[in-house]
């Protein structure tokens, strides 16, 4: 059994599953949400995509050259982030009907991540860099998936909410109550904004844990917990922006467009931390201890 072929076949199978999922979600929206079957068909395609990615990583784990869990290269991390983002979609969409509008867009982002991951696919590295030989690697990466996956989805919903607030009209009008005599329902934009907060509230503690575990690990590996490395600083910047968002929303009453734009800024900072920081290091010729993952 050629595990390398299985790994790649499963990885390639994930893309059509996500694309089909997105298309079916679009059909579901076109039918104005009347057909529950179309929603569940889209959900199942997304699940198939997630399972294909899990299978691909599993096949990679069991290849004889792999000396450990495949959690170190940019390809492997990107697969995990795709699983995290699509997994969040699977959990959230059945609970929030209004959010189904986000289904195709989140899957488009997952597909973009898939393409990025594909471009970063490398053979398995038999030898880990000395710094990566630590049980903290597994803990650190697990927190990365649990934070980055949901935060990617919250980024998409925050951008969608921002656009809705800017367009206004039906998107920002309160909707009629579900039952007669009941209270009017919040506008669709408000629901997106509300769910953006809820997803961030789930991902933020994991983001904090991601930074903390990274610092503890760095202390063991390099003898210092914080080195002002560009990757470390951008993870702190991302954290600062989400802290600002949470305080503004919870205590200062920021809602609507303001809060959505701040949440979208969090996504931007996260993308820089995740992908673009290596580019910054290259362009500005800055030293970084974290470029090994590229």
């Amino acid at each position: 059994m050629n595990l390398e072929l299985i790994e790649m076949a499963l990885y390639q199978a994930a893309l059509p599953a996500f694309v089909l999922g997105g298309v079916v979600f679009l059909a579901h929206l076109y039918l104005a949400g009347r057909s529950a079957a179309t929603f569940w068909a889209g959900w199942v395609f997304t699940l198939i995509g997630v399972l294909a990615l899990v299978g691909s990583l599993t096949a990679r784990s069991f290849q004889p050259e792999t000396p450990r869990l495949p959690l170190t290269t940019m390809f492997e991390i990107t697969v995990l982030v795709q699983i995290g983002a699509a997994g969040t979609l699977l959990v959230v969409l059945p609970r929030a009907k209004e959010l189904r509008l986000a289904g195709p867009l989140v899957l488009a982002v997952v597909a973009a991540l898939w393409a990025y991951g594909y471009s970063k696919h490398r053979e398995i590295e038999e030898t880990l860099q000395p710094a990566l030989k630590s049980y903290w690697l597994q803990i650190h990466v697990a927190t990365a998936v649990l934070s980055y996956g949901p935060l990617f989805m919250s980024g998409v919903t925050s951008i969608m909410a921002s656009v809705m607030y800017l367009i206004g009209g039906e998107y920002t009008k309160k909707r009629p109550p579900e039952e007669e005599g009941g209270e009017p329902r919040p506008s669709i934009a408000d629901r997106f904004e509300e769910w953006t907060y809820r997803i961030i509230a789930f991902g933020f503690p994991w983001l904090t844990a991601l930074i903390v575990t990274g610092a503890i690990w760095a202390n063991y590996a390099w003898g210092r917990a914080w080195g002002f490395d560009p990757k470390e600083m951008w993870s702190a910047i991302t954290w600062f922006i989400y802290v600002a968002y949470l305080h503004a929303r919870l205590r200062s009453g920021w809602r609507g467009l303001q809060a959505s734009l701040l949440a979208a800024a969090g996504l931007l900072a996260m993308i820089v931390t995740y992908v673009l920081v290596n580019w910054i290091v290259e362009v500005f010729q800055v030293e970084s201890l974290h470029t090994y993952s590229d």
Partner: protein, 526 residues
């Protein structure tokens, strides 16, 4: 953090109160947070040292961090009293008007006694694990406040407290003024280095770089299908404590100065018990073993409150065996870090040390051996070492094609006028012997320095406590659901019926408010 100032602030708005109010303002805190984020982003576009000088170590950047910390403290102080009151003495009784404005509110008139109706609602809520508070008014109205997940209210305060702990622990763990310190320690293989703070001697028994082979399907170099990667840096170290020399019974032996040139200078000491001896500032110290340890990246050693991390390494010397034309064999550690030797003038700028192969007779008494060697004769020079070498070619670091080291050797002639001429001989791989004139040279091994990062971090345990508290606070603040249900039973004027009302706070975000209140209504007696 809150926008309002409360009891902790003096009533008169003096400067102190205004500063307090500003520090407690969320908008101010959000502004500062975004300012820190922007400054940090700017810093990442600079060279590390420049960023440190222009941003990370500047007063204004540290002041911003300090302000955020103060803001967290002020906010916690400001709000904590309110949180405590909300937890301990919540307002149970609310008016009918307030009940009518609650989310998912429902009311129902049933034939029942007010106490029985309230009992039924209370039982229903307790069944769902709510903590229920009940207040009966003089007019016979019964108010119920059911809550669960109250600990969530402490979440934000706990996170803020943890921030203060983390900052204190960081300052304690980093600032030398508070007992912490860090330094780099270089220990040459086979030698000792003194760690001043703990008065411990660290001996490096061996330093090794482990390479692993990587099979590459698409090689980037023609004909090369195996690459090498560093798998580990391993320092075998032994920790010693100094012992008085009187206990060590030192035997000091001068090395025979009449040995074949160049004779090593200095003294060699040995203890009759065979224990190690180190030298500090010319003074000899006996050493008693405490422990030994393998230090690797991700595997520091911890001895007497000091952590030793594998930080780096450096090449100190190459060990070669030279057999000269008289058949005398000597082993030499050639210091590659020595200053330029006059005998290397005119040669490429490498760190070199001359070795005699053919040369003058042994120096006469009173004559400096080196001078004699410089006058005339033939020497070899090790011009340098590369750690990666293959097929007659030195490879740049990072090429990963081979881990085999090699030294470059040159033959040096010094004529009667003292003019030096160097002729490169070529590369000699580890374990290889090259013949030079009547003599030969063997490259035995490289001698490394292991470089350990030595740290005393008294604040680490507090840092871990801070992290743990932050974790608890974050879980409470974001993941523990806080539920609150209000119910009110009002006796009807007819005396036979009661009006029951149930509702959730306006801030409730769930979609199921209506379902929750409907279920509570079903619990009422029919």
């Amino acid at each position: 953090m809150s926008d309002s100032t409360k009891a902790a602030v003096p009533e008169e708005k003096g400067v102190a109160a205004q500063i307090w109010s500003l520090l407690g303002s969320i908008k101010f805190a959000v502004g500062i947070l975004l300012l820190i984020a922007a400054a940090s982003a700017w810093g990442t576009t600079m060279e590390m040292s420049e960023a440190y000088e222009r941003i990370w170590s500047t007063v204004w950047y540290r002041a911003l961090l300090g302000i955020i910390l103060l803001s967290a403290v002020v906010c916690t102080v400001d709000r904590f009293d309110g949180v405590l009151r909300r937890v301990r003495e919540p307002k149970v009784e609310v008016s009918r008007k307030v009940m009518g404005s609650l989310k998912g509110h429902r009311k129902k008139r049933v034939e029942s006694d007010p106490v029985l109706a309230a009992d039924a609602l209370e039982a229903h809520l307790r069944e769902r694990r709510f903590d229920v508070r009940r207040v009966e008014s003089g007019s016979g109205e019964i108010s119920l406040l059911a809550r669960k997940g109250v600990s969530k209210l402490f979440g934000a305060a706990i996170v803020h407290v943890s921030l203060v702990i983390l900052i204190v622990a960081t300052i304690w763990g980093v600032s030398p003024s508070f007992g912490s310190y860090r330094q780099n320690m270089q220990v040459r293989e086979g030698e000792f280095a003194w760690e001043r703070r703990s008065n411990i001697w660290v001996g490096c028994d061996d330093f090794e770089i482990i390479y692993s082979e990587e099979d590459i399907d698409e090689p980037q170099h023609e004909g090369v299908d195996t690459y090498y990667k560093v798998s580990d840096y391993i320092s075998d170290v032994t920790f010693y404590e100094p012992v008085p020399l009187s206990e060590a019974e030192i035997v000091v032996e001068m090395i025979d100065q009449t040995a074949e040139w160049p004779a090593p200078l200095g003294v060699e000491a040995a203890r009759d018990d065979g224990g190690p001896i180190a030298s500090r500032g010319g003074e000899l110290v006996g050493l008693r073993k405490l422990s030994d340890s393998v230090v690797k990246v991700n595997q520091p050693a911890h001895v007497r409150d000091i952590d030793y991390f594998q930080s780096a390494y450096d090449l100190d010397a190459v060990r070669v065996t030279v057999t000269n034309d008289r058949g005398v064999t000597e082993s030499h550690d050639i210091q590659l870090q020595d200053a330029m030797d006059p005998s290397t003038m005119g040669l490429p700028p490498r760190r070199t040390v001359p070795l005699l192969i053919e040369g003058p007779d042994p120096p006469a008494e009173g004559e400096d051996a080196a001078e004699g060697a410089m006058d005339q004769g033939l020497m070899v020079t090790v011009m340098g070492m590369v750690q990666r070498y293959e097929d007659g070619m030195a490879l740049p670091a990072g090429s990963m094609m081979t881990p085999d080291p090699a030294v470059q050797v040159a033959q040096i002639t010094v004529d009667d006028q003292g003019r030096v001429e160097g002729i490169p001989i070529g590369w000699v791989e580890q374990g290889e012997t090259v013949a030079i004139g009547e003599g030969r040279l063997t490259f035995d091994e490289p001698i490394y320095y292991t470089i350990l990062e030595v740290r005393h971090q008294p604040g680490v345990w507090l840092l871990m406590v801070g992290f743990a508290i932050a974790g608890v606070g974050l879980v409470l603040a974001f993941w523990v659901p806080f539920r609150e249900i209000r119910a009110k039973v009002v006796p009807g004027r007819d005396g036979d019926t009661v009006e029951a009302m149930v509702g959730l706070p306006r801030s409730y975000r769930g979609d199921d408010a209506g379902e929750i209140t409907a279920a509570a209504m079903k619990a009422l007696p029919e």
